[in-house]
């Protein structure tokens, strides 16, 4: 993590948001986001993800703490900071009667872009997001996929350095979702992104950092690799091809190995669960040797279970189980 705060894209310190003294939406969130980071914001419903994003954007005022964007404190009037941010809300809403061209033109004018800059840029973006054929049609009649593409174009109209996308794949069909993920990967090469999503496989695929919120509290912030590293990779599935008798025989042999807690065969799919203290590399090597000895072809092997998902659930569960101990935070953790 960068030590110099001027290098940071986003920095929050003890950020807290309490709505009208009735609801604690965010509690003591401290994080630092460096340039080039693709941060996945995770958390159950009501965890405070959208509140955090809205505080970073200056749409909400913080009850305590502060948020800095590009080294400057974010406030509702810090328009010059928002000029460097591209935002997609959860369910983007568009004014009635507008077309993609008029809407993008309006958004570009909100960034203060003069006509000679905004007109060519909006034309390029409409082409890029494949809305050229419907660029003169009213947005009201657009499908979810089309509004999502328009929202992407809107968030890029000002060529931002920081992109904040709140559940960008929400409500998209598989094809549109795939395009969105590919776009995030492309943008991640040049920009800093904060992506909030319920879909952990999306986060797993496109992000290099993760922040996990639970009931308004930040319970993890770090690299996705570290988050996944918290989970042991001890559950595998192997798809096999060969004589069924040979497969059954191989399974019996593998069952005899001490490295495995359970070995199950369902037709030609072998499910292996390793013991806690087993070395997965040597255990799998033994499995491969056994399969080769029995002339069985290995079609595919995969680690079962979403590691990010497991790690996320584990973190949330651990946080819940701490109970009143949460009231005390060790100095080094704070």
């Amino acid at each position: 993590m960068a030590e110099n705060s001027s290098e940071l894209v986003v920095e929050t310190y003890k950020l807290t948001k309490i709505y009208q003294n009735r609801q604690i939406a965010l509690n003591d969130v401290t994080l630092k986001i460096e340039p080039g980071c693709v941060l996945g914001l995770l958390g159950p419903n009501g965890a405070g993800k959208t509140t955090l994003l809205r505080l970073i954007l200056g749409l909400h005022r913080f009850t305590a703490g502060w948020a800095k964007v590009f080294g400057k404190k974010m406030t509702p009037n810090a328009a010059y900071l928002r000029c460097r941010i591209g935002y997609i809300p959860t369910n983007p809403q568009f004014p009635r009667g507008m077309t993609p061209i008029s809407y993008l033109d309006y958004m570009a004018r909100l960034f203060g872009l003069p006509a000679q800059v905004r007109k060519p840029r909006l034309a390029s973006l409409i082409r890029a997001v494949d809305l050229l054929n419907v660029s003169g049609d009213p947005i009201d009649a657009f499908s979810n996929g089309m509004t999502a593409r328009l929202a992407v174009a809107t968030s890029l109209i000002n060529e931002p350095d920081l992109l904040i996308w709140d559940e960008p794949t929400h409500g998209l069909d598989p094809e549109a979702r795939r395009s969105m993920l590919e776009l995030i990967k492309t943008l991640a090469r040049e920009k800093t992104l904060i992506v909030s999503s319920h879909n952990l496989s999306d986060i797993d695929e496109v992000c290099n950092h993760a922040a996990v919120l639970s009931r308004g509290h930040l319970i993890y912030f770090g690299s996705l690799q570290d988050l996944k590293g918290r989970m042991r990779k001890n559950h595998y599935e192997l798809d096999l091809e060969g004589d069924q008798k040979a497969i059954t025989k191989a399974m019996q042999t593998i069952k005899g190995l001490s490295d495995f807690r359970s070995v199950n065969l369902r037709q030609r799919r072998l499910e292996l669960r390793m013991a806690e203290d087993a070395n997965n590399a040597s255990a799998l090597a033994n499995v491969f040797m056994t399969l080769a000895d029995n002339r069985i072809t290995l079609v595919s092997i995969r680690s079962v279970g979403q590691q990010t998902e497991q790690a996320f659930l584990d973190l949330v569960e651990k946080e819940e189980s701490r109970g009143f101990a949460r009231a005390y935070q060790a100095p080094e953790a704070a």
Partner: protein, 258 residues
């Protein structure tokens, strides 16, 4: 663009976000049914009343002076319009709270600019429409009625007086809208505040400017018989109060969550 490279200087027109909100709000208000009902009702009432008076003059021989008729008309427009103008302005900002405001306020616009854009847009639209209607009414009364006693200066002062009062109503509507989360609540608050203020002012001594007295004095003002000090105090007071309320609304809005 490289994330680590220094940001490219982007040509930015600082006035453009305000202007974008202004234009967008004027278009939005022009499309709203409340605005259309207000214009249609005011125009129909004005034309209908002038024709009725014209008919009464020609057939019944009842001589109707233009100042009295225009005074009545301006008074009715002012009283009758207040409800619709409140409805038109009290939802200006709070009706967009939430997702719609997200897509505007998350861009390169400050809360001040957004408020100013909305306020001035409604102010310009309602006042321009009123002035246009008043000009049509005055022109019609000159053509159709006994207009010898109608004074040009008096007409301008009368229109300016009603416009100043309407400006106050519009400003209150937009300011309360910026501070409220709900359009219905906002309308109720503006109604109560304005009518209570109007009632309290009407109880004050005659030398204090009051909307009620100013509207009743319109026939005389149209004849050019007015106390300039009293009228100017009313206009200046309304404008000063409008500015103060707008400033309070703007500051309040900049401190609220959207």
């Amino acid at each position: 663009m490289d994330a680590t490279a220094p940001a490219k200087p982007m040509p930015i027109n600082r006035f453009l976000p305000y202007w974008a909100v202004f234009q967008s709000d004027v278009k939005q208000a022009l499309r709203s049914w409340i605005y259309r009902v207000w214009v249609l009702a005011s125009f129909s009432a004005a034309i209908g009343y002038l024709l009725y008076r014209y008919g009464a003059k020609n057939i019944g021989g009842l001589v109707s002076g233009a100042p009295e008729i225009m005074g009545d008309l301006l008074q009715w427009v002012a009283w009758g319009s207040v409800t619709l103008v409140i409805v038109l302005t009290a939802g200006t900002i709070c009706s967009e709270r939430g997702t719609m405001a997200d897509s505007v306020l998350s861009r390169g616009i400050s809360r001040y600019q957004y408020f100013l854009g909305k306020w001035t847009a409604r102010l310009a639209l309602v006042l321009c429409t009123f002035i246009l209607l008043a000009i049509v009414g005055l022109f019609g009364s000159v053509l159709l009625l006994h207009s010898e006693t109608l004074s040009l200066t008096g007409s301008l002062v009368a229109v300016a007086t009603v416009a100043a009062l309407l400006a106050m109503v519009i400003t209150c509507g937009v300011a309360v809208s910026a501070m409220s989360n709900n359009t219905v609540v906002s309308i109720a608050i503006v109604w109560m505040v304005l009518y209570c203020a109007g009632f309290v002012l009407s109880l004050l001594p005659e030398n204090y400017p009051s909307p009620d007295r100013a509207l009743h004095a319109l026939p005389n003002v149209l004849k050019g018989q007015y106390d300039w000090q009293l009228v100017s105090r009313l206009i200046a007071g309304s404008l000063a109060l409008s500015l103060f309320v707008a400033l309070a609304g703007m500051i309040g809005f900049s401190r609220r969550d959207v």
